[in-house]
């Protein structure tokens, strides 16, 4: 059961990261490989604020998100909008940013990894059926659920969400109706990046902050989004949960091969239903 909670909370973090990734992909058609590093930058910023300077953990989460969003702004407005639709260039550009940002983090924060940390108020566990469950993990799961609800509300109940859905279905029509899709897309990109950075701080309770985090989380995010569905938020939730549980149980039962199974599932999904379990086809 502890493994299950572990899996679910890990899945929740994956959902936080993957939802941003999926949004950016669904709305803009961009495969933002930098997403993992944004998570990492958020984690580092969160560490600096929460541990080094002892600030409020919630503030750290927001700061992490904002930091990531700023980088996202530079990436999007400075570069990505010029290479719209050019897949190979997008891959290279976002990959290049991975190297640049990772190295900058190394420069500023040094090579020493930061141990997992959490807010003092969350740092206790409660006993259930003979085992100790860390409260922090429960909170992480709740945050994931809260985000899912927020995003669902955003997509279905707000005008903003309506515009996004319209754009995902038929971009030309949406632009033709006079809606400034460019601003919407830019806003979505910022939201996605903010989510990544904030997720980094939330996830730092489990993983801390270290330099390999960027690529590790990216690999997971890609797997989650592919399985769940590129461009689908419920898909990111499903994918995140599935991946989190697979890895959690896999690490316990077959250590080392957990990643192998993640990729295997990913490949099977891509072969049978490329748009993912809950995804929609991209109108290229």
């Amino acid at each position: 059961m502890l493994t299950a909670l572990s899996g679910v909370s890990f899945g929740s973090i994956l959902f936080l990261v993957a939802s941003g990734f999926s949004l950016i992909f669904g709305v803009m058609g961009v495969l933002n490989l930098t997403h993992g590093v944004l998570y990492m930058v958020g984690a580092y910023i969160g560490w600096t604020l929460a541990i080094q300077h002892g600030h409020n953990f919630l503030l750290a989460i927001v700061a992490g998100g904002v930091g990531a969003a700023i980088i996202g702004l530079i990436l999007d407005q400075g570069f990505l909008r010029r290479i719209h639709g050019m897949l190979a260039q997008q891959v290279l550009l976002t990959f290049g940013f991975i190297y640049v940002l990772t190295n900058l983090c190394l420069w500023y924060w040094g090579a020493l990894p930061r141990a997992p940390f959490t807010a003092p108020t969350l740092d206790w566990s409660f006993p259930l059926a003979g085992l100790q469950y860390p409260f922090a993990r429960v909170v992480i799961t709740l945050i994931g659920i809260a985000l899912a609800v927020f995003l669902w509300w955003l997509q279905s109940k707000t005008k903003f969400g309506m515009v996004i859905r319209a754009g995902m279905n038929d971009k030309e029509m949406t632009v033709g109706l006079g809606i400034n899709y460019g601003i919407v897309a830019a806003a979505i990109f910022l939201l996605g990046c903010f989510l990544a950075g904030a997720a980094g701080v939330v996830g730092s309770q489990l993983f801390g902050a270290h330099l390999g985090l960027g690529q590790e989380i990216l690999l997971f995010a890609v797997a989650v989004v592919v399985v769940g569905g590129l461009g689908s938020i419920p898909g990111a939730l499903v994918g995140g949960l599935v991946t989190g549980l697979v890895v959690s149980f896999g690490t316990v039962l077959l250590p080392g091969l957990a990643m192998f199974f993640v990729y295997l599932v990913m490949i099977v999904v891509l072969m049978i239903r490329p748009t993912g379990i809950l995804g929609r086809a991209i109108t290229d």
């Binding site: 290479i83 190979a88 295997l264 490329p274």
Partner: protein
């Protein structure tokens, strides 16, 4: 109006430059630089092999390193763990294994296009990384395989950095020549047609899937050659050589140099190796920053790579105008 003496210079210029750069210069360099040059040549073979599916057929693969790694690991295993010695026996076997893996991966990856192809090739190579990392008894796990012997060609050669370089260089020449034949053949032209318009190709009678599959396997074969030469030169192979960073590097070299021309990636390999070398001298800790910066600058400033500029320069010298 170009001077009459300019024409032969322009016509033979590139070949003379290549001969100087690859055949003569290395003999004059200090040993540690010869090693760098060998690396350049090996990465060139790898990147050029990617160009066949990327530049010519238009398939963006993020998993090409899989074949580099399979070729290298197969070679290393045959030599270190299975007791084979002769280059002439081991190489065909390693290549056969690479082709077999490519045949399997191709069946999986070519069912989908573009974005999904990118993701599947990525997942396939990552899966291999996971397997290699875990199967420690066979593959040496995260440390990889080492103490790979030098090539046993059946004649006695003193293996040092210069002889290893010429071994790599000859491999490049042979591979380049063969790949050139492939792209200049009717099959090669068909790949370009596929890149431009698949429906049109089908309407003309081409079995598009089959052509892509064959190209994928040919491309993997040459990537495997690069992997084999790499193990002989490096004497060590590790899971990193199978991973995402290798694949991305090959993609960068192709785009930077100029895709869809075989010599473009060759130039790209030269540029990247030089950048890597100078960065290791002046800014050793910042190499990832420089590399990442190169990716970004290449996309921002040279989206079509260096090759088009050189091509126009060459045309101007030969024909007196920039066009063909």
């Amino acid at each position: 109006m170009a001077q009459t003496w300019q024409r032969p210079v322009a016509r033979f210029g590139p070949y003379v430059a290549a001969a100087l750069l690859f055949l003569i210069l290395p003999a004059l360099l200090p040993t540690h630089l010869q090693s760098v040059w060998s690396r350049l040549v090996i990465f060139a073979i790898f990147a050029i092999s990617l160009d066949i599916i990327f530049g010519y057929a238009g398939l963006i693969s993020l998993g090409h390193s899989a074949f580099f790694g399979v070729g290298g690991y197969a070679n290393a295993l045959l030599l270190t763990k299975l007791g084979f010695e002769s280059f002439w026996i081991v190489t065909p076997i390693a290549l056969a294994i690479t082709v077999a893996v490519a045949a399997l991966f191709g069946l999986i990856a070519l069912r989908v296009t573009r974005m999904y192809f990118l993701l599947i090739t990525f997942a396939l190579s990552q899966m291999l990384v996971a397997v290699v990392n875990t199967w420690r008894d066979v593959t040496g796990g995260a440390e990889g395989l080492f103490r790979i012997p030098h090539p046993d060609l059946g004649i006695s050669i003193a293996w040092n950095s210069i002889s290893l370089y010429y071994f790599a260089c000859i491999s490049l020449i042979v591979c380049f020549f063969l790949m050139m034949l492939v792209v200049k053949s009717p099959f090669g032209l068909s790949l370009q047609g596929i890149r431009e318009s698949e429906p049109r190709m089908r309407a003309m009678g081409y079995n598009v899937w089959l052509h892509k599959y064959i190209a994928y396997i040919i491309s993997a074969l040459f990537a495997g050659v690069a992997g084999i030469v790499f193990t002989y030169h490096n004497t060590v192979i590790s899971p990193w050589n199978l991973g995402l960073e290798m694949s991305a590097l090959a993609l960068l070299i192709c785009i930077l140099g100029g895709r869809g021309t075989l010599w473009g990636p060759l130039i790209g390999a030269v540029v990247i190796t030089l950048i890597e070398y100078f960065s290791s001298i002046y800014l050793p800790a910042r190499w990832p920053l420089v590399l990442g910066g190169s990716f970004v600058l290449c996309v921002a400033l040279l989206p079509k790579g260096i090759a088009p500029y050189l091509q126009r320069l060459w045309n101007r010298l030969i024909y007196g105008s920039a066009k063909n």
